[in-house]
């Protein structure tokens, strides 16, 4: 009955739906996305129920989330970036809640950010949005973003393609970073969980040896919680940096 450690990433259809030949079934991935939304909405709305000037614990934590993102956006994108705050905040809270819900132990939680389709969709929209913002703000002069200042003309022939390629690799790196971190973390946890079971199944005193992989899993879970929060922060701050590049070229 031993499953591969990668079996946890399987997308299972709960409610099959089809529209015009497209499969839009409600899967476990979609169910966890809905659960993430519900958790975030409960956190935000119930926290701001009684808005006091001196906040209680829940309201204080909601305000801390808000201020953390607002400060990050203000530091990186400047004053013009403030109108993109809802998008950055949504992105950060969605990825954070997604990663953290995937770490909940007993419910066999499914981390939907461990699918490249999901992370690439988010990164693609960030990339398209930021490029469009750049072209709307600067017009055709946005293409000057790829031409570094003060470079002699013979270097431009090789510099501009390199700059364009590194710009086009942004959505790929953004999505693969989140995807690989989630997949690697959860696969490691499953592999060491398998070690605990297989060592614990040994007869007699040898079963005590399963303490070692168990201790490692405890430490690894701590690291994975840190990585969950960190990857959400990195996604958000890189989006802010790309936004800053689009709004104020260099």
């Amino acid at each position: 009955m031993a499953q591969s450690p990668l079996a946890q990433f399987e997308v299972i259809t709960k409610v099959p739906l089809e529209v015009a030949g497209y499969d839009i079934s409600f899967t476990n991935s979609a169910a966890y996305m809905v659960a993430t939304l519900v958790v975030i909405m409960i956190f935000m709305t119930m926290g701001m129920r009684k808005t006091a000037l001196v906040p209680g614990r829940w309201q204080s934590s909601v305000e801390m989330c808000y201020e953390f993102i607002a400060k990050m956006l203000g530091d990186t994108a400047g004053h013009d970036g403030r109108k993109y705050f809802p998008f950055i905040f949504t992105l950060f809270m969605f990825i954070l809640a997604a990663n953290l819900i995937g770490m909940v132990p007993w419910i066999h939680a499914f981390t939907f950010t461990s699918h490249i389709a999901v992370t690439f969709a988010m990164a693609f929209f960030v990339f398209i949005g930021v490029t469009l913002i750049g072209f709307i703000t600067h017009g055709v002069k946005f293409l000057g973003f790829f031409v570094p200042h003060g470079a002699p003309w013979y270097l431009l022939l090789i510099l501009v393609p390199i700059e364009i390629i590194s710009y086009l690799s942004r959505p790929i790196s953004l999505s693969v970073r989140l995807f690989a971190n989630m997949v690697a973390g959860h696969t490691m946890l499953k592999v060491f969980g398998g070690f605990v079971v297989s060592l614990g199944a040994l007869s007699g005193v040898m079963a005590v040896g399963s303490i070692l992989p168990f201790a490692f899993i405890v430490a690894l879970t701590g690291l994975e919680l840190l990585v969950a929060c960190l990857q959400a922060y990195v996604f958000a701050i890189l989006t802010c940096l790309y936004l800053n590049d689009a709004l104020h070229m260099h």
Binding site: L6, V176, R177, A180, N181, V234, I237
Partner: protein, 85 residues
């Protein structure tokens, strides 16, 4: 009969090459380890010299850590692609 045996042998060789390739792709994690060590080594030695300036820079240290780890994990993704695609 011989064709089937030859096909099974060829598949086994491709599988063996897959495992070797996946193992080689994981050498990218050497770079990840070195990069993370460099970032945090510099952060700690700078924090010891100037403890009061260490707080505001911590966010950038975390960003640098995530970016360095990401390049190592790109190699891991290549390993997965070799193994399963």
């Amino acid at each position: 009969m011989e064709m089937e045996i030859a096909q099974i042998a060829a598949d086994a060789q491709v599988n063996a090459a897959r495992y070797i390739g996946a193992g080689l792709a994981c050498t990218a994690l050497i770079g990840a380890g070195v990069g993370i060590g460099v970032i945090f080594g510099n952060y700690v030695s700078a924090a010891i010299r100037n403890p009061s300036a260490a707080g505001p820079v911590f966010g950038q240290a975390m960003l640098g850590f995530a970016l360095a780890e990401a390049t190592g994990l790109f190699g891991l993704v290549i390993a997965f692609i070799i193994l399963f695609v």
